[in-house]
Amino acid sequence: MMEDIQSITILGGHSKSGEAEDVALRLVPGDLVAVVGPTGSGKSRLLADIEYIAQRDTPSGRCILINDQPPAPEIRFDMGRKLIAQLSQNMNFVMDATVAEFIAMHAECRDTNLGETGLEELINSVVTQANRLTGEPIVPDTPLTALSGGQSRSLMIADTAILSDSPIVLIDEIENAGIDRRQALDILVQNQKIVLMATHDPILALLAHSRIVLKSGGIADVLESDQDETALLEELQKADAAILAVREKLRKGERLSGSAFRYAEFLAADSI
């Protein structure tokens, strides 16, 4: 059932002041959508509506369709948890288990039937993927609660990408996590998921294929990214890489000179 999600559609409701939202947005696997707007504009509400597969029964009056239809109640209220994965703002695990035990438990409840070697491979692939996102490598027998914020977040993302078969992923602000955000999105989108992320980060917003603009509780606009924006994104990414590179050099105690952008190019050359 979960494999055949071909689309989700967001049908507009109304803003806080009752103004109708003129929106019918259909998303398919591989789509990456940013949700932007000032704090308090209703970004989390929109994600909550999708998570809840709202049927005009939440304060926004929005309706979410799955494969162009209202979902059956059992999908909505139980299986729904598997349809939609959510990466909320929490940055730490509370579960009393090691990284490996946690992955094993998650695999078990996803009905993933693996042998012992299969499980070992799975644990390795999740940890390896997570370690691509964080500068501080994770070891499988570390207790979850001992992971740093960045490590936890990386593991959550790798776990969602690989282990969860949820075709829809909602992300609430990934920017403060201290991880490689671009890689994180790549991993998720590569796995043919529909990804929606609320963000204030210009690079993340421009990485998305389209963005939903929220104003005072309502969807004010849906913008597709265009060539100009893609060009701008490239510049911003260079600047971002430059800052990262400079930070790295400072951390190593090196002296800096000249244009910051040289360091970015240097870093890019380094990693090839």
């Binding site: 909550a48 948890r81 909320s88 946690f102 776990d159």
Partner: protein
């Protein structure tokens, strides 16, 4: 009037969740009241009163809270009827895990939070096993994977209940719970109705106030723990 029994470990989020769902019920034109059962102390009644929800507070004190519940619920139901409530919710905390305050044909809701540990569901008795609805709270402080693992553990214990994820702080998920409460069966009278699970056998000398320890002071319904024979130390 409908009678809904809501129970769960202390601080699992019962009151927070109920305040949200009562708001929703009010928007639908339904009047709800609450009777809160606790052991020693509770300020929940003030929280309900502050929101204009009619509330009774019952403290079991030195009685078994479960026995206290069952001997008082009928009078509470009459109180609810006298106020012309559409829904009376009994909120119980401080139960022993042996018990549940669930009554046949009255909708039974178990509230349990994501932070209580992955093994807690398997350690809980009829409170979880016999619920019609299991509301899992505090999902906002754990990861998606932890929510899934926890729900899976709950499912293993109770295959039948509808599982809801509710955020007690924001009320997210309250609409579905509200619908289920509004659809619950009406009850006219509790007299002669049955508990879903028998209460713990009690009435030993300690039930009557005994505090001294020792064989001579134990009377009535007592049960001994099974202890394997310990080899005696050899005397040389």
């Amino acid at each position: 009037m409908k009678l809904i029994t809501v129970a769960g470990p202390p601080s699992s989020g019962k009151t927070s969740m109920l305040l949200r769902v009562i708001d929703w019920l009010k928007e639908q034109g339904l009047k709800a009241g609450v009777v809160k059962f606790d052991c020693v102390a509770s300020k929940d009644d003030e929280r309900y009163r502050a929101k204009g929800v009619p509330v009774l507070l019952g403290l079991a004190g030195n009685l078994c809270p479960d026995h206290y519940f069952v001997t008082n619920i009928e009078a509470c139901a009459r109180w609810g009827q006298s106020l012309e409530l559409d829904i009376l919710i009994s909120e119980s905390a401080g139960l022993c895990n042996r018990c549940s305050p669930f009554i046949r044909h009255a909708l039974a809701v178990c509230v349990i939070d994501n932070l209580s540990g992955v093994n807690t569901p398997t350690k809980m008795g009829p409170l979880l096993k016999q619920a019609d609805i299991v509301a899992i709270t505090k999902g906002d402080i754990v990861s998606q994977a932890e929510r899934e693992v926890f729900q899976y553990q709950v499912r293993k214990v109770n295959a039948r209940a509808e599982i809801l994820h509710i955020n007690g702080l924001t009320g997210q998920g309250k609409e579905r719970l509200g619908v289920l409460l509004a659809q619950a069966e009406d009850i006219d009278d509790l007299d002669g109705r049955k508990l879903r699970f028998s209460m713990p056998a009690a009435v030993c000398s300690y039930c009557l106030g005994e505090t001294r320890i020792g064989h001579d002071y134990q009377m009535g319904n007592v049960k001994s723990i099974a202890i394997p024979d310990v080899p005696r130390p050899e005397v040389s």
